[in-house]
């Protein structure tokens, strides 16, 4: 059985098709990433799976429960960390966790123990009785993750878990996510528009654009799809070097420009010394050599034909709001 299985899941807002006939299966125990630019429909997919909004058509099964017919059971079996802050900052961390436990009916006998357990997991024990308004952004995120876990869900949804956090805190949060996945044997479904985040954390990635899955695979396979590595050699005799290199079987493509030679090469780092040796034999002085292994970013570019938009504001939300205002 899959953790998540959708059938032709669709969401339309007036003229905007946010999610278009999505068919998706996610295996249990994996970290699954929905990668896409802002406005691609990631958050809408998540909202439907979390039963916050109803699909326009199609359906989905989460943990074996139908998102429309059994929404209460779906809710009980999942934990959610929203993109924007959703703790009560006038309550303490412990009070927030207690409130959540009671809403999710964690038995009162084990409630305090569970609270302690999740606080330890995210290292917030010493701040448990401080008001949340005194917390930093990273601490709030950790508290929200702790809260999402307190009722022992089978799936944890993370919507842009590190958006708006500084680089150091982001790495910290990544560590927590990795620890959670290992320790708690959870299925984690996360959305992100950060390439490095998806690459580092996810076992499985779906690249989404305009509400449609463009491609789906492991980060390694996605990257190996782009065959070669790019090597840029700076030299004052690029033509001569190109002639010398032609016929080598590791070269896929060559492009000569003024003072440099652009190469597409199989296994770039292993074959770079070979290139230098050939240059030396031909008495060509190489000024510099630069190896560029393909990143998820290149993969993304290849499949969607555009750069991922790196902005903090979610276009989709503003688009949706505009649509609602016009109502």
């Amino acid at each position: 059985m899959y953790a998540i299985e959708t059938t032709n899941l669709t969401k339309k807002y007036k003229t905007l098709v946010a999610v278009d006939n999505l068919n998706l299966q996610v295996e249990k125990g994996k970290i699954f990433g929905l990668l896409g630019p802002n406005g691609a429909g990631k958050s809408t997919i998540l909202s439907m799976l979390c039963t916050i909004i109803n699909p326009t058509s199609g359906s989905a099964i989460v943990n074996g429960y139908d998102i429309i017919k059994d929404s209460a059971k779906v809710r009980q079996s999942i934990g959610i960390v929203f993109q924007s802050i959703s703790v009560d900052d006038r309550l303490t961390a412990r009070e927030n966790l207690r409130f959540h436990s009671m809403l999710y009916d964690v038995p009162s006998g084990i409630m305090e123990g569970r609270i302690q357990e999740v606080l330890r997991l995210v290292e917030l024990e010493d701040r448990a009785d401080s008001l949340v308004r005194t917390f930093s952004g990273g601490m709030i995120r950790r508290l929200e993750m702790a809260r999402g876990l307190i009722h022992h869900p089978e799936i944890l949804f993370l919507d842009e878990p590190t958006i708006g956090l500084d680089p150091q805190t982001r790495e910290h949060i990544w560590d927590y996510i990795k620890t959670l996945a290992e320790k708690e044997k959870l299925t984690i479904i996360m959305t992100t528009h950060y390439m490095d985040e998806a690459d580092l954390l996810c076992d499985d990635i779906a690249i989404i654009d305009h509400g449609v899955i463009k491609v789906r695979d492991t980060p390694e396979k996605l990257k190996s799809f782009l065959v070669g590595d790019n090597i840029l050699v700076t030299t004052n005799l690029p033509d001569k070097l190109a002639t010398g290199l032609s016929g080598q079987d590791f070269i896929i493509e060559m492009k000569v420009s003024q003072n440099s030679l652009n190469l597409n090469v199989r296994q770039g780092s292993r074959n770079a010394p070979q290139i230098i040796n050939i240059a030396r034999d031909l008495h060509i002085a190489v000024d510099s050599i630069n190896i560029d292994e393909p990143t998820l970013h290149d993969v993304f570019l290849h499949h969607t034909g555009k750069n991922i938009r790196e902005e903090e504001n979610d276009n989709f939300i503003s688009m949706y709001k505009r649509a609602r205002r016009g109502r």
Partner: protein, 251 residues
């Protein structure tokens, strides 16, 4: 059922913790009705001579000021859902397995508790306007105050679920809360008012709440107590049904 009750309890508890934490607010909120009673009541009373009011003006408006306090506190706490939405906490509540009806009830009970506390404090201060309330009457008024508070609490929730923005708050204050207060007979009897004002007053649920309290304390009720109660309880139930339904509608 048990887990729904626990959900209602937890939502209520959150309101109470916050209410307790902001008790300075509570103290300052108590000054408004006292100002009305002492300054407005005292100042107007001297200049008023009318056959309709027999008990002295300050005493006459006392039940009205109790009603006003319940109205303001309840509406405000109902509308606090807009804050919850603004700060994201509403999402946490809405995605929980608790039914939307329980959410509305929990919220309303939380707001009603704080309104009721203020109402009881005010009743205890009734000696300021030379009113004596017997212990039995005191006990009779409490459920009436509870239903008035619940009704307007859910009404506040109702409004909060319709308006999306914060800016709407001031509009509601001036277009709903103040007219409800003025047309409730809290400050003056509407029996001599023009017909259209009388009609509006009769459509106003607070009219019956104030009338019930006035009937018990001053024995000057316009309608029978059971009629007043019927409307106050009816209003609370009606709002609860409408608002639960509204909360259940998913976008």
């Amino acid at each position: 059922m048990r887990r729904e009750l626990r959900g209602i309890y937890s939502i209520w508890l959150r309101e109470i913790i916050k209410f307790y934490r902001e008790r300075i607010h509570f103290a300052s909120a108590m000054t408004t009705p006292l100002l009305w009673l002492i300054i407005f009541g005292g100042g107007m009373g001297i200049n008023l001579r009318t056959g309709v009011i027999s008990s002295g003006y300050s005493a006459y408006i006392f039940p009205g000021i109790v009603g006003m306090t319940l109205l303001f506190t309840s509406m405000r706490s109902g509308i606090s859902v807009i804050w919850d939405r603004e700060f994201g906490f509403l999402k946490e509540i809405l995605v929980s397995p608790i039914s939307r009806t329980s959410i509305v009830i929990g919220k309303a009970l939380g707001g009603a508790t704080s309104a009721l506390t203020q109402g009881i404090m005010l009743l205890l201060l009734s000696f300021i306007v030379h009113i004596y309330i017997s212990p039995l009457n005191f006990i009779k008024i409490i459920p009436i105050m509870l239903f008035i508070s619940l009704g307007f609490d859910v009404f506040g929730l109702f409004i909060a679920s319709i308006i999306d923005s914060f800016e709407g708050f001031q509009t509601i204050m001036s277009f709903i809360i103040m007219p409800t207060f003025f047309l409730s007979g809290a400050l003056f009897p509407l029996t001599n008012a023009p017909g259209w004002l009388q009609t509006l007053s009769l459509l106003n649920p607070l009219t019956y709440g104030v009338d019930a309290i006035r009937g018990i304390i001053l024995n000057e009720g316009r309608f029978s107590l059971s009629y007043d109660l019927l409307i106050v309880i009816g209003f609370a139930s009606f709002m609860l049904i409408i608002t639960s339904w509204l909360f259940n509608v998913k976008k």
